[in-house]
């Protein structure tokens, strides 16, 4: 087991290196000026050149990359051009906010996804299956920013039950686990949960249907196990894959959703990333992408390890 973990850890090093090159190059290849946020577009050519020098953007790209990697390895992600604040602190706060949202959305998605998936798989080809499949397909297909806006119109504008934007009446810095604050979390979490719900439901349905068609299930029934007993075996067999899918979905959601977080003005990583893109704030953009990518790599690693614990055949593969 230890050697498996070490092998998987070693594999993350070239991945991390590749990620750092890709995210550095991508933001430099994209059109736009990195000084957009501190320099009006109508600034003179001379001023533009002076500012480029002041911020070090006049250096060759390999030199800029080298300096960035050196600093990053020391834990310094630099300073946002637009705000002058350290990228690490901006990212830390945003990650905390997205974590709350993503965990709640994943829980909702996993709960309802498994429910719909098991029901659909268990009652395959019945009207229950068709209904559950319809709901899960809607979950995967519906544009979630559109759903977010619809939920806002219904629950905020028309019914005035839940707030339309923000992370609490005093912002995320004053966050508390009370109703006044939690009500701000409900609409974005519900909106965010529909995609994992749909994906998990589709996966679980296929798994359950496949497991039920296997011979050992007939064996279990022949041994006289009741439906509940058979169901326990199905759950146990479906769990590793469902868990892996949930892990990946949590990874996706931890990256934040630019659209959902923008629609609800939720100060998470997606919101931060969106702003960094529009402001061409390179240090913030690079730092955010790198950390999110590494987060995803780490999450994959954890899922692989947990999966191998649940099903030792994974290790051998």
């Amino acid at each position: 087991m230890l050697s498996y973990i070490l092998k998987r850890l070693a594999l993350t090093i070239p991945v991390a290196f590749g990620v750092s090159i890709v995210c550095f190059m991508l933001v430099h290849i994209a059109p736009g000026d990195p000084l957009t946020s501190v320099l009006p577009p109508d600034a003179s050519a001379q001023l533009q050149s002076e500012m480029r020098k002041l911020y070090g953007f006049d250096r060759p790209l390999p030199v800029q990359y080298g300096l960035w990697v050196m600093k990053t390895l020391q834990g310094d992600l630099g300073v946002s051009i637009a705000t002058g604040r350290p990228v690490a602190s901006e990212l830390g706060k945003a990650l905390g906010n997205t974590l709350m949202l993503a965990v709640l959305a994943t829980m909702i998605g996993f709960l309802f996804g498994c429910l719909f998936g098991f029901v659909a798989g268990y009652f395959r080809d019945s009207w229950i299956d068709r209904l559950a499949s319809f709901v899960s397909i809607i979950g995967v297909s519906v544009p979630h920013y559109w759903l977010g806006m619809v939920l806002v119109i219904i629950f905020s504008v028309q019914l005035n039950w839940l707030p339309a934007t923000g992370a609490g009446p005093g912002g995320s810095a004053d966050w508390a686990w009370d109703w006044v604050h939690v009500r701000h979390l409900i609409l974005p979490a519900m909106t965010m949960s529909v995609i994992p719900m749909g994906i998990i439901a589709r996966t679980v349905r296929a798994l359950v249907a496949e497991i039920l068609s296997q011979e050992f299930v007939s064996g279990l029934r022949a041994k006289g196990l009741l439906d509940f007993g058979v169901f326990r075996h199905v759950v146990k067999n479906a769990a590793p894959t469902a868990l892996a899918v949930m892990g990946l979905q949590l990874g996706y959601l931890l990256g934040g959703s630019i659209l959902i977080e923008t629609v609800f003005s939720w100060p998470g990583t997606g919101f931060l990333l969106g702003q960094a893109i529009f402001q061409r704030d390179l240090p913030l953009l690079q730092g955010t992408i790198l950390v999110l990518a590494m987060f995803f790599v780490a999450l994959n690693l954890i899922v692989d390890i947990v999966q191998s614990m649940l099903d030792p055949r994974v290790q051998r593969a």
Binding site: A45, N160, S265
Partner: protein
């Protein structure tokens, strides 16, 4: 124990007053949903364009000169701010003397003196200064390109110098907000001693200053939550009694999505939103909210190319295009949310100048001009316009450009729209029409502000501002225009300078290097609780005289 009627009534009144008292003392809070995605910087030189100046500049800081935002009818002009008077030196026009307003104090209690003005000039111009801040240079220096130095004459007199005689300086100085040196020094002193690099210490002091700013404005910044909210409270000792705030607290919320802003307003989370979603206007009105709008110093144009081979070299073609657009119809298409232009500035502006060419809808004359120029329905004139699908100040570029495409077809134009990414359009605005990245376009659609003469006119018609120096994308200009600009720059009496600028504007309209299509009207929706709102003909609005029920 026995109570008589009087005691019972007294007790009742006391209990009642205890219930009412908190309501009476309730803080009057105004919550504003901005279009910016982040809180504009709060250290005195805001980013996020003019929205930054509007919300974290003007409310918290004053400049030497200011915009008059008190009228919705008159053009907004420059008035005294922290300076009560100013004049260029009679013998050396590169030197200006500004007399400061006595008795003004910063929010931290320190006094405004000439030293503070010098310090604020040096924060962006003197690289050796301890408080020099590169992040403030771009947004400041670009707005006052000729300013070079500042020198104290006495406590209430300061001398500013420019690189060349420049009568536009007092207008440009509306963008230099005066921050408190004493407060910054206190923040610098609080930086841990372990930070030894002076540049890093200065950087940290500015970050701390931004979190707890100190200017001389009617509001004082008290709480910054980056990317979420910024709170300001009333400065009850503000120097101008007319602008002493009636609102206790202003909360700024960045809500970049138009639908999110509109929903926040309709659900009562904010009292005011900038630029509500256009298709939600009827719903907003029916909800009892008020939509304020007024033409802004803003132009939505096509800027023509005068490079060799351009179809716009023929003045008749340029005039025909300007006469061929039914702007009232376009206004209806945009739900009334645009101003109809007569030039780069409006006829009530001091720089108007009575041009002989009248920009209006005159289809017959437009067709006649095009026919004279050798074009017809069978032989249309091909033109190509570079534009974007979105962008700051661009209003609704696709809808508007498609309308123009249809409208100009009637006047024998065959318009090709080249819609590319906004930053690419903007970058090419500086590269010019002759650059390959213009993709063969002979007109470009980039909107601009007309607050000061350089940005409104000079940069588009001077031979000194050909790309890549500035935004004369189409290479328009000649000796006549250079002469008019030189005259305006070197005329130091305010009224005479405006007259010289009016001459320049008159000739620009007559030569028509643009197709003038619209002025933005800066729509903002507010709750009926917000009173005393004056939406001036400006990019800015003054929160100080407003009240809230």
């Amino acid at each position: 124990m026995h109570f008589n009627v009087r005691q019972i009534i007294t007790a009742g009144l006391l209990a009642g007053s205890m219930l009412v008292a908190p309501a009476m003392a309730q803080e009057k809070v105004l919550r504003i949903g901005m279009t910016a995605a982040d809180i504009p910087r709060t250290h005195g030189q805001p980013d996020q364009g003019f929205e930054g100046n509007r919300f974290t500049g003007i409310p918290m800081y004053d400049a030497l000169t200011a915009w008059d935002l008190s009228s919705a009818d008159k053009a907004s002009v420059v008035i005294p701010g922290l300076a009560t008077e100013w004049a260029a030196d009679a013998n050396d026009k590169t030197k200006w003397i500004f007399k400061l307003r006595p008795g003004v104090k910063f929010h931290d209690g320190s006094a405004l003196t000439a030293d503070a003005i010098v310090w604020n000039v040096e924060k962006v111009l003197k690289k050796e200064a301890a408080h020099f801040d590169p992040s403030q240079v771009g947004v400041t220096v670009s707005r006052m390109p000729t300013l070079r130095t500042a020198r104290k004459i006495d406590d209430l007199t300061v001398e500013l110098t420019t690189s060349e005689p420049d009568s536009f300086l007092p207008i440009n100085l509306t963008n230099l907000f005066i921050a408190s040196p004493a407060h910054w020094n206190a923040k610098l002193a609080a930086v841990p001693a372990s930070v030894t690099d002076p540049v890093e210490r200065a950087k940290q002091a500015w970050v701390a200053f931004a979190a707890e700013p100190s200017g001389t404005g009617p509001f004082k910044g008290v709480r910054l939550q980056p990317r979420e909210r910024f709170e300001m409270v009333a400065n009850k000792t503000y120097w101008d009694p007319k602008r002493t705030p009636k609102i206790d607290r202003v909360v700024l919320l960045p809500l970049s999505d138009a639908n999110a802003r509109t929903a926040a307003l309709l659900s009562g989370q904010v009292d005011w939103v900038e630029a509500p979603a256009p298709d939600a206007m009827p719903r907003i009105r029916s909800g009892g909210f008020t939509i304020y709008s007024n033409p802004q110093p803003h132009v939505w144009p096509w800027q023509f190319s005068f490079a060799e081979g351009s179809p716009w070299l023929d003045k008749r073609v340029r005039h025909a295009a300007n006469l061929c657009v039914n702007r009232e119809e376009l206004k209806t298409l945009l739900g009334g949310m645009m101003g109809v232009p007569k030039g780069s500035v409006s006829p009530d502006h001091p720089w108007w100048g009575n041009p002989t060419f009248d920009i209006k809808y005159d289809l017959a004359n437009a067709k006649k001009l095009m026919t004279e120029a050798g074009h017809s329905a069978a032989k249309p004139l091909k033109v190509k316009v570079l534009t974007s699908a979105s962008g700051s100040g661009q209003m609704q570029p696709v809808t508007m450009n498609e309308y123009l495409q249809q409208a100009l077809k009637e006047c024998f134009f065959d318009v090709e729209l080249d819609v590319i990414e906004w930053n690419a359009v903007f970058t090419n605005w500086r590269e010019g029409a002759k650059d390959p990245k213009a993709r063969g376009a002979n007109a470009i659609n980039v909107t601009f502000a007309t607050m000061d003469p350089f940005f409104a006119m000079v940069r588009f018609v001077s031979t000194k501002t050909f790309p890549p120096v500035s935004n004369n994308w189409g290479f328009f200009g000649n000796d006549e225009f250079d002469g008019l600009i030189a005259k305006a720059r070197s005329t130091f009496d305010g009224k005479e300078r405006d007259a010289a600028l009016a001459n320049l504007h008159k000739r620009i309209v007559e030569e028509a290097p643009f197709l003038w299509v619209a002025h933005d009207v800066g729509p903002r929706a507010m709750s009926a609780k917000v009173k005393g709102v004056v939406q001036p003909k400006s990019w800015f609005i003054d929160i100080a005289p407003m009240s809230i029920d």
